[in-house]
Symmetry: C2
Subunit: 408 residues, 2 copies
């Protein structure tokens, strides 16, 4: 038995940018409740980018809301479109993947998604099931429903057309094929980011023409990445991955600009209601402390309490107390026979802090190297035997055990 429609709507509305059209969602929920039949809720994912991050999680948690309300979630892998390259919202064509690469990427999805969705209630489908068998006559039937002008209404197409930058005809095909996914799945609701709004709405025409009730489009906010500038994406390396190691997850979260705190607290943290208000208030007064809370919250969410505690303590040691981490690697080297010392450039390469002596020279020139906490910029420095803490940047440490020349 489904919850009353008002209760469902209250949960489902939370955190969305827009529900188009909302009255149709109400009507669908009412009929679902009367007929005791779950809605089919679809979201498409790109198998060329199998690293899910906390930006994806915004809508994955919304899919979980649907699951908890008893509805049927379809996690749709756009494997067919990936085989031919999906340039949606990108000015460059994405790489075309082989069947083997896609299959490998799919395996990694499952582990990530199950950190949020209930595996037993999640149906995973691949759009090659219904797109691969389409023939030219089918394709012409689909394309005949759309006009060139309508396709050019999509913001990024309009922009690129105005700029005179090329749009491949295949790119025009992609949103129509995505619409056909909705027909094949008979989806009631589709989720997508604000950059997917056009594609989501396009499916409605095709569903209506196929005698189906058109889907409701649930537009979800896009989380900005750690740079505070562009949307979170692996290709910009401004992301926090769902399966990232606790220390990395913690460190990346701590690196975000203060202006991003409100957005991340609202969209990516577990905070709700009173807790959220408290953190939002604190963000203005003590952004560093709020970031620590957020970083801990994220590690707790995607790992566990113990991992969150460890990541926080390790971070604090390095960044707050400026101590050397406990688990620092020790590197044993021997001084040069002639001089009885060892050149710093050689130390950096042998300890793997630099890949070459020219990189070592560059690091030294940039002031990125510290020996026992003191910055070293002298590229000719010779170290006498003894033990040292060699540090590169903020987080890479090596304990150096430099032994006398000729010793055993």
């Amino acid at each position: 038995m489904f919850a009353p429609v008002d209760e469902q709507l209250e949960v489902l509305r939370r955190g969305t940018v827009e529900i188009v059209p909302e009255d149709e969602l109400t009507a669908k929920l009412e009929r679902s409740r009367q007929a005791d039949r779950p809605l089919v809720v679809k979201q498409g994912f790109d198998p060329t980018r199998p690293d899910l991050h906390i930006g994806h999680a915004v809508s994955l948690y919304k899919l979980r809301d649907f699951q908890r309300l008893g509805h049927r979630v379809v996690f749709l892998i756009g494997d067919f479109t990936a085989r031919v390259g999906d340039p949606s919202g990108q000015s460059e064509m994405r790489p075309v993947l082989t069947e083997e690469e896609i299959a490998a990427n799919l395996l990694t999805y499952k582990e990530q998604v199950e950190r949020i969705l209930d595996p037993k209630l999640t149906e995973v489908r691949r759009n090659s099931e219904w797109l691969a068998p389409l023939n030219l006559a089918d394709v012409l039937g689909i394309t005949s429903l759309y006009t060139v002008a309508r396709m050019l209404e999509r913001d990024d197409f309009a922009q690129r057309h105005a700029d005179g930058s090329p749009i491949s005809m295949a790119e025009f095909m992609y949103p129509m094929m995505q619409g056909y996914d909705s027909v094949a799945l008979e989806s009631d609701v589709e989720l997508g980011g604000t950059d997917q709004r056009f594609n989501l709405l396009l499916a409605r025409t095709l569903q209506e023409r196929s005698g189906q009730e058109p889907q409701v489009c649930m537009i979800m906010p896009l989380l900005r990445g750690t740079d505070g500038d562009r949307k979170m994406s692996k290709s910009y390396d401004n992301y926090v991955g769902l399966t990232m190691e606790p220390d990395e997850m913690f460190g990346r979260t701590m690196s975000i600009p203060d202006e991003l705190l409100e957005e991340w607290l609202s969209l990516a943290s577990s905070a709700r209601d009173a807790e959220l208000n408290k953190q939002l208030r604190q963000a203005g007064e003590n952004p560093l402390e709020t970031k620590r809370w957020l970083a801990e919250d994220l590690v707790r969410r995607y790992h566990d309490d113990a991992a969150a505690d460890r990541a926080r303590d390790a971070f604090d040691r390095v960044h707050r107390e400026r101590e050397v981490p406990e688990d620092v690697t020790t590197c044993v080297l021997r001084a040069d026979d002639d001089t009885g010392t060892l050149w710093i450039g050689y130390v950096l390469t042998r300890s793997d802090l630099a890949s070459s002596t020219s990189e070592a020279a560059r690091l030294l020139a940039q002031g990125a190297v510290r020996v026992d906490r003191r910055p070293v910029t002298d590229g000719d420095l010779q170290l006498a035997p003894g033990t040292y803490i060699i540090q590169k940047g903020k987080r890479a440490f090596v304990r150096l055990d430099l032994r006398s020349a000729g010793g055993s």
Copy 2:
């Protein structure tokens, strides 16, 4: 053995608007001659419009030139595109035909085409052979070679896009599919009217990408129709059909405006060189006489000498000597018992010159009716018994034998 390239080029160039690029045609002819291998020359025809007219004949005669020079002509029926509607160069979508309708239309083509082309040297192909089996991945491979901006370069697309009148996405597909025809046939040369220039050139990209040498595009002039205004087309009813009856062919040719004479003499008549110059000169001095020569020439070309003579004599009787044609129908009627006469409106309907008395009244009011050569506009005219020649418009005649009332 093929004729020297210069000789071939002289024949092939004649009457074309443009050969793009001409140096590639020269190179292809040279290699064809060296290898003793014929060129593959393709032209597409629309099976939804199976009535060929003297406008089509302009390029059919060019195909015959290729045949006579020893090359291989492919008469390509766009049956697949017809099944899904081919809107090329039309602001309205064409009707979608069933397989049965297309098959029926194909039969009528053969008879018409063989008035010009050598049946033994003409290969008839249907593009459903290679287009029907294409799947979505194939289609995306083709579309990825073209940009939206390039498709919008086509004049009619550009115009409609600028006017805000809708262009179906399926219309954008059509020229790309036509290009694929060239790949499937490995065509060396494609012929088409000036309105096909864009489509013909588009095929070159696809051929190159498929590892073929791109085709040479031979752009042929479009013949204007009998209205002197629009291009010749059955849908405008401004055409002279290849299999039209001699009298109709002659009459339609006589109806063209004087300004069209130069174009028709050059493109549609059999006149060449000295004869052509003579007729072109005469057109300015005595256009009516020149039209008679042209009309006779066309009937001779598509029927025979005897038919041309008969059509000319019949036309002359009606239009020049204003005589009643020999084979006029006789209609026997009886006068009204009360008046001893018969109302002209009744005469016109009973003799099938009008379908109703209201049409008869309209014809009379328009001055379209003559009795014994005198125009009759009196809608109440009563005819006394006797014989009359009743004439509607310029060419419809009935001999009326009006007998006395009550007689046997």
